[in-house]
């Protein structure tokens, strides 16, 4: 008996008697004896810990992540933002987070209506007609979008911009490779498209781009729209939905499918997950959507009610003919996003995106004034941008972290060897004006010292100090 298994010895006996067996072991008679060998435990503990001991242990482990308390300018698809406490108050409602998928609508209206509201909000942001109830993350969302285009067009060639998030690219590669019978082409968005499309126009299923792209660059989407129109391919736009507070909807630019990640809407960076991918599309393509979709309907008395719908797209009905294999998705992240968008509203969202962009440009101005530092992104960007450094970006990241307790950004050499002097920097509303100053002066120092350490060795005092921060359970 533990606090999670309620049975007393007496009760166990009563139950076994009722079943008509003499011991629990008898219930496992179907398991061949040869399989019931004793376990060799290398690491798995034999006994459990009490809640107190567990809390002590994991709190100690959490403090082994000094990165969590450092001043951070890292983005690249995951952005630390202020999460209003009301979001967590909502998401920690037992009735939401301990419920299953809302398959029984009569006792799941809470989750269902919430998802319907989410679908509406995301469709408003993207300008599309319908949005699904989530897929795993932005990367798998782009892959699902690609597959959707392949299904809808019955074509097999995908052209992908080289400046999309490299992780999205990698996942797409993995998915396409596994499926087989598809071709992936890559193009440079800053070169004319035509010459880069080497496959027959009528074999192109989709053109996939990202706005802003991984470098933060914003471009007019018209060239892609035209190319898509000319070839009959679908236009898939991966977006950072936060930027849609400022940027016109991809629908206006002819997008057929919009995909992305809702992480920034009320979800923590969490070392990579859980976040939430989404796909928005047109009414025409809605039956090709992967994942769950909620519809508004009525109950038998005519009262408004919500239910999962269009389920013939899904694996549990269509099995091998489904639009995707997805089952469990990211519902709780969707709840956080829905609460977040409801609390911020259009003006709040606009302000958050704006304040981030304003501070990013402020920081960029400072950085670009440093000799030998230049802008790697295009001229138009919002709150994320890349700069070329006179020293390796890896050195910059290392020095800023070790000497100043600042996570300076992402070394793009990680993804593209030729970009090893490029640093990708994201600014959000969490980066106060004072923190920009701190960044700038540290950055100047590092450049000035050509990346050589000025402190003897080990972590500086700064790093320790910031590691104490508890930014309030975000």
């Amino acid at each position: 008996m533990t606090s999670f298994i309620p049975h007393t010895a007496d009760e166990r006996q009563q139950m076994l008697d009722r079943i008509g067996v003499s011991s629990v072991d008898a219930l496992f008679d179907a398991v061949p004896a040869s399989l019931k060998h004793p376990f060799t435990l290398n690491t798995l503990p034999k006994n459990g810990r009490s809640e107190l001991e567990l809390q002590h242990y994991l709190t100690a482990m959490a403090s082994q992540n000094p990165g969590a308390g450092m001043l951070s300018f890292m983005g690249g698809g995951a952005y630390a933002r202020f999460i209003p406490p009301a979001v967590n108050a909502i998401a920690s409602r037992s009735e939401f987070y301990t419920a299953y998928t809302p398959y029984q609508p009569e006792i799941s209206q809470g989750t269902l209506q919430m998802i319907y509201e989410f679908q509406t909000m995301m469709s408003e942001l993207t300008g599309m007609d319908v949005t699904n109830a989530s897929v795993y993350d932005g990367a798998t969302a782009m892959s699902e979008a690609a597959f959707m285009a392949v299904r809808a067009t019955r074509r097999k060639v995908l052209y992908v911009s080289k400046t999309t998030n490299p992780q999205y690219q990698q996942v797409l590669r993995t998915y396409c490779h596994a499926f087989g019978d598809m071709a992936l082409g890559w193009f440079d968005p800053d070169q004319p498209l035509g010459p880069q499309f080497t496959h027959e126009p009528n074999t192109i299923a989709a053109i996939l781009v990202q706005q802003p792209d991984y470098y933060g660059t914003i471009r007019p989407l018209s060239a892609y729209q035209e190319a898509a129109k000319a070839t009959g391919a679908l236009l898939v736009v991966a977006v950072d939905p936060m930027t849609l507070a400022l940027l016109d909807s991809p629908r206006k630019a002819g997008a057929d499918i919009v995909c992305g990640d809702i992480q920034q809407f009320g979800n923590s960076v969490n070392f990579g997950g859980p976040y939430g991918g989404f796909l928005s599309t047109t009414e025409k393509l809605m039956r090709q959507l992967p994942g769950r979709v909620v519809g508004r309907t009525v109950d038998k008395e005519g009262t408004t009610a919500y239910t999962l719908t269009l389920q013939t797209r899904e694996q549990h009905i269509r099995r091998e003919k489904a639009t995707s294999n997805i089952c469990t998705n990211q519902s709780l992240n969707v709840l956080k996003a829905t609460a977040y968008l409801s609390l911020l509203g259009p003006q709040g969202l606009h302000r958050i995106a704006s304040v981030s962009a304003e501070r990013a440009h402020e920081l960029a101005k400072g950085l670009l004034a440093v000799p030998e530092v230049s802008l790697r992104s295009g001229d138009a960007y919002l709150y994320e941008f890349a700069v070329r450094l006179p020293i390796p970006a890896k050195t910059m990241v290392h020095q800023m972290a070790h000497q100043y307790g600042i996570l300076a950004g992402i070394d793009l050499g990680k993804y593209w060897p030729e970009e090893d002097h490029t640093l990708l920097i994201a600014v959000t509303e969490l980066n106060t004006p004072e923190s920009l100053e701190r960044y700038l002066s540290a950055f100047r120092d590092v450049i000035h010292n050509r990346g050589l350490s000025v402190l003897p060795s080990g972590m500086s005092r700064d790093v320790k100090m910031v590691a104490t921060g508890t930014r309030g359970g975000q």
Binding site: T98, T101, M114, Y175, F271
Partner: protein
């Protein structure tokens, strides 16, 4: 009192949370190139913080949830989730860690992830693991990708078929197809198990793999499992284990011992991540040495006292997810395992199986039990007897009636091979008292089929809304508050989901 949507409650100018003012001279909109600036603001709700709180609190109260009542959904393992796992998963030192943080500043998380890998290997007997997949189905996909890569690495390119029993979960065939495989469905034998003759018939040099869950979705243990996996191996195929039912046999046997080459775990089922109304979960995949080279990137390793992410694995299938998986869910799973230890996990499985057999034994007094043998953590009944009494009574109506007694219905109309079935999985966290109360409700409902069948046919009566019109939903899609969709004349095929399988859960 239906809760209006937030769009209906919206009043232009309201805002639920204050945000910092501008601190620079230039307005952000000036940075947006001509023609790209948003013209009409998105019609997000404009509500006060109070409006938003009330709305979501009221909505939440319309849900059934583990924390409000029994949830015996077969194949879903709706157990109680220790609150300590929520709390430790939400420590700022974990949640605020950016995935691009250099390894040296993320040792705490990396160490836990590494340890969890070790624990899962110990528990299942496999040699290597990836924690990245985001859910069970994602794990299946990743597992099948590795199988494909394995055959390809041996230039064994004709292996295009995956064998899957007809009792399998829908994600199995769907995942296989996403890897470009053809699915060969294996009809189950009369005992609900894999029919060895059928299997032998299906095996060939085209066989890439078999996908099985054991105990299977009928709650039955494939007693010939060693023979099955051996046959598949002899034919040159690999064996995939769908770990959705792991809750039945932890500490009893190791999955690798049964002859499987690869498996996934649904941590959100077995290791008690709250389901969150449909996720997030996570789907670690374990493999033996044959498949290890193909694990997705990156892999967490431990060298010289430091935990590191290794991206340098030439045979890897590549990346399958943004960053490193649903880390918070992994932390919760780790905390859960730490709460129990191996002995505790064995107790979990034993008790889950005992609870299921106890319920089965009680319910068979009134309900048809298609498979009489000892079940594992779940079992199947049907509405056959009750339907015989009254033609309008079927599994769905019984399910709806259960809601009036305060219970979430079991999974219904799944697995597909038993008509009008109900799949019941009580889990180990429910007490005898709760099971007895459920039995009593089922007894009364059986009685009602004789005394008051109409109450059942019209059920539910006490829920926030009455029977929801799913056909109307399918015919008149309304998926966006601001958009009118064209009504569609959907055929019976398109409505399939409305009548039966939509009630199905896992």
């Amino acid at each position: 009192m239906a809760e209006r949507t937030l769009f209906e409650q919206s009043v232009a100018g309201r805002q639920g949370v204050t945000v910092p003012d501008r601190s620079t001279n230039q307005d952000a909109t000036s940075w947006v190139p001509q023609g790209l600036l948003r013209q009409e603001p998105p019609r997000l709700p404009e509500v006060s913080q109070l409006d938003a709180m009330r709305h979501f609190v009221r909505l939440s109260q319309l849900n059934h949830a583990i924390d409000t009542g029994f949830y015996p959904l077969g194949s879903c393992t709706m157990k109680y989730n220790p609150k300590i796992c929520d709390v430790v998963g939400q420590l700022a030192g974990f949640t605020q860690l950016h995935p691009e943080t250099p390894d040296e500043f993320a040792q705490g998380t990396l160490e836990i992830v590494f340890r969890l890998q070790q624990y899962l290997k110990d528990l299942t007997g496999f040699d290597a693991v990836t924690l990245q997949p985001a859910a069970g189905a994602h794990g299946e996909l990743v597992g099948m990708m590795m199988i494909k890569a394995y055959h390809a690495s041996r230039h064994d390119l004709k292996r295009t078929e995956v064998l899957i029993p007809d009792s399998a979960h829908g994600t199995n065939p769907a995942s296989a197809v996403m890897c470009g495989f053809n699915v060969i469905e294996l009809p189950s034998g009369p005992d609900g198990l894999v029919d060895l003759a059928v299997l032998k018939e299906a095996l060939s040099e085209r066989t890439a793999a078999i996908m099985l869950t054991n105990p299977n979705t009928l709650g039955l243990f494939e007693k010939d499992i060693l023979e099955i996996t051996q046959l598949v191996h002899e034919a040159g195929g690999l064996c995939y284990y769908d770990g959705a039912n792991l809750n039945a046999i932890m500490g009893i046997t190791q999955i690798a011992t049964m002859g499987f080459d690869v498996m996934h775990i649904n941590t959100h089922k077995t290791f008690a991540t709250p389901h969150g109304g449909g996720g997030p979960g996570s789907g670690p995949v374990l493999v033996n040495t044959k498949l290890e080279p193909f694990l997705p990137l990156p892999v967490v390793e431990h060298h010289d006292g430091r935990y590191e992410l290794n991206f340098d694995r030439p045979q890897s299938i590549g990346k399958v997810k943004l960053f490193y998986g649903n880390t918070e869910i992994l932390l919760r799973a780790f905390a859960y395992i730490e709460c129990f230890g191996l002995d505790g996990l064995k107790d979990v499985s034993e008790t889950a199986v005992m609870n299921a057999n106890y319920l089965k034994e009680c319910l068979r007094q009134w309900y048809h039990v298609p498979f009489e043998s000892t079940c594992m953590h779940e079992f199947i009944i049907t509405s056959q007897h009750q339907h015989a009494r009254h033609g309008d009574i079927n599994t769905m109506t019984l399910a709806k009636r259960l809601m009036d007694y305060g219970f979430h219905p079991p999974t219904v109309y799944f697995p597909l091979i038993v008509p009008e079935d109900m799949m019941i999985e009580p889990t180990e966290t429910e007490s005898k008292q709760t099971l007895d109360a459920f039995v009593e409700a089922m007894r009364r409902i059986d009685e009602e089929t004789q005394t008051n069948p109409d109450t059942i046919v019209q059920a539910p009566h006490t829920t926030p809304v009455k029977r929801v019109d799913e056909v109307h939903a399918a015919r008149n899609p309304d998926l966006n508050f601001y958009k009118n969709f064209r009504p569609t004349n959907v055929g019976p095929d398109q409505l399939q989901g409305c009548f039966t399988a939509s009630q199905f859960c896992p």
